[in-house]
Amino acid sequence: MIADIEVKGLAKYFNGFPALNHIDMTVYKGELFGLLGPNGAGKTTLLRVLTTLLRPSEGQATVGGYDVVKEASKVRTVIGAVSDKLIMYNLLSARENLRFFGRLYGLNGDLLEKRIDELLGLVELSSWQDKLVGTFSTGMRQRVNIVRALLQNPSILFLDEPTLGLDPQSQRFVKDLAKDLNQRGMTIVLTTHDMKEADELSQRIGIIDKGKIIACDTSSNLKKQHGVETLEEVFLSSTGRGLRDSANEKITTMRRWRGFA
């Protein structure tokens, strides 16, 4: 198996606080890897480092064979990412949004327009293409957000809680799309709090807590190792039943809100 994402001793500190604490992790080419963790475990921080949005404090990470620090611009050519925020402009139509982001990836002219047609068809939004996305429902906006990440036909896709806040129909749609893309060979890293979703979609699952990967295997192996029936039980047994504060997960946002420079 060929590694598509390799993480070695990766650490990220915010004001001395270890949001990621020397993580080692491998995601193989063509794999759909589920990343689970309680609030504040470091999932989003890890994804932000892997998508070149955050610079790691220590350690190394390669994505698609490229170093996330030294070859950040090359990493950006092979990845697509759906973050927890909807990356789109409300005052632009769906097509205009996709055209804008497509151009940033060097797509132009007929090639870009055909790609947009294809992607809007894929998420069943062709008839809405010229409407402002500000008028869309959350589910429709998330569908635009997902195809935005697919514009450049990335080989690696990061999905950060892509079904959060969606109705069951939209959730099903997103899950089927993720499965379909993975079957076509795309490597996918999925973070979610939905254990059933992780169980259904992921070939392997990593559980992250307090900035460390504490378990990583297939869902069935994890269940066997913990002697339990469900992934939720594996999760609770690995991370404990105590409630978590969300200081770690939200620390980046807090630093901004509090104006720490």
Binding site: T52, L53, L54, K85, I87, F101, R256, W257, G259, A261
Partner: protein, 384 residues
């Protein structure tokens, strides 16, 4: 309505807002620094002892070198030096002196007309002409009144020495503007300042607010994850703000011309060039402030704190000469000062490119330095 309950709710909300303020170091700092800054600027700008303009540079062009002319100019220089109001310097011809005035080295030109000595010797009226810099009505008025006062005293002294009739009429003074036919209009002095200020400060705060908004919405992540350079992200935003700024500038300019009779004596392309270079410098400052602030409200407060001294110390509304020396030094470090000075020269005096190369060079340097610094700072702030 339960008033006690309402009061409690009001205090709860106010308490929460103040707690948030207390926990934001940048907001707290600007909250304290802003009133201090404003009161210091106004306090020194309008001192309790009254505002005086001293050491205004005036060129003397003697077109008559007779004894009387030499005696009068000598006396004038002596008196001006003693009072400290005017600093006289001699120029060989009017053209050279006018060039110095356009470049901003002189605030007025006093010309001793040919035949001055003969007229005085014959008991008539010797003629002098004063050319004032109409880019600043306050300064030109100060130059004009100082020269009138000095001439009046010189006339009296000459009369006392028995060589002339002791009346002011002994020397006649004609005042004219640098641009023939132009009158010194206060709004013509202020219009270039307002234009430069709105365009540049608008560009600075507009860009900062646009970046902060995109950061908070998450759309900035979309751009930062794409394989384009950070220069493209920053300069793309800067270009859109520049276009907006120039559009606003054109609207303001048209309005001042149509409604307030402001005239442009210089080349409009030069004006656009000044505004463009100015906006680029301010865009860089805006990016740095946004990067340091992190979120929108702090960025807005930092920018407001930068804007206040810029508005009052760059000569938008008051001549820089009116400020104490140390404030004049600060004003020299503000890019808006150079943009306003250059714009005023072009708009009011019809100055050519050669007369504003100094200001343009400074604006180019500021734009290059701030944008060069802004990009790594911006990248650092987004990935730290």
């Amino acid at each position: 309505m339960d008033i006690t309950r309402e009061l409690f709710n009001i205090l709860t909300i106010a308490g929460k807002d103040l707690r948030e303020l207390k926990r934001s170091r940048i907001r707290l700092f600007t909250l304290i620094a802003m009133p201090l800054l404003m009161i210091m600027i106004f306090g020194y700008m309008f001192p309790s002892g009254g505002t005086t303009l001293n050491h205004l540079s005036v060129g003397i062009v003697q077109l008559d070198h007779g004894d009387e002319a030499n005696a009068v100019t000598g006396k004038m220089i002596q008196m001006a030096t003693a009072s400290g109001t005017l600093d006289f310097s001699s120029f060989a011809d009017i053209g050279e002196a006018k060039e110095a005035l356009i470049e901003g080295r002189l605030k007025g030109i006093l010309i001793v007309e040919p035949g001055f000595s003969d007229q005085i010797a014959l008991g008539g009226r010797g003629s002098m002409r004063l050319i004032v810099d109409q880019t600043s009505p306050t300064v030109s008025m100060a130059v004009s009144s100082s020269i009138t006062a000095i001439l009046s005293e010189v006339s009296a002294q000459i009369a006392n020495q028995g060589s002339q009739n002791p009346t002011m009429g002994a020397i006649s003074l004609e005042t004219e503007s640098m641009v023939p036919g132009a009158t010194s209009n206060t709004f013509e002095f202020m219009a270039p300042g307002f234009l430069a200020m709105s365009v540049m400060l608008g560009g600075m705060s507009g860009l900062a607010s646009a970046i902060s908004r995109e950061r908070e919405l998450g759309t900035l992540d979309g751009m930062m994850m794409s394989p384009i350079s950070r220069y493209s992200v920053i300069l793309g935003k800067a270009v859109s703000q520049t276009v907006r700024g120039l559009l606003q500038g054109l609207i303001m300019l048209g309005t001042t011309m149509i409604l307030f009779g402001v005239r442009i004596y210089g080349n409009p392309i030069l004006m656009l060039l000044i505004l463009l270079l100015g906006v680029l410098g301010f865009v860089g400052i805006g990016i740095i402030a946004t990067a340091v602030a992190g979120e929108q409200e702090s960025a807005t407060m930092i920018l407001a704190m930068l804007q206040i001294p810029m508005m009052f110390l760059s000569g938008v509304m008051y001549p820089i000469e009116q400020l104490p020396w140390w404030m004049q030094m600060i004003s020299k470090a503000i890019p808006l000062t150079y943009a306003i000075t250059a714009l005023r020269k072009v708009m009011v005096l019809g100055a050519p490119l050669a007369a504003i190369t100094g200001e343009l060079s400074i604006l180019v340097i500021i734009a290059a330095v701030t944008i060069t610094l802004a990009i790594p700072i911006f990248e650092w702030s987004t990935t730290k």
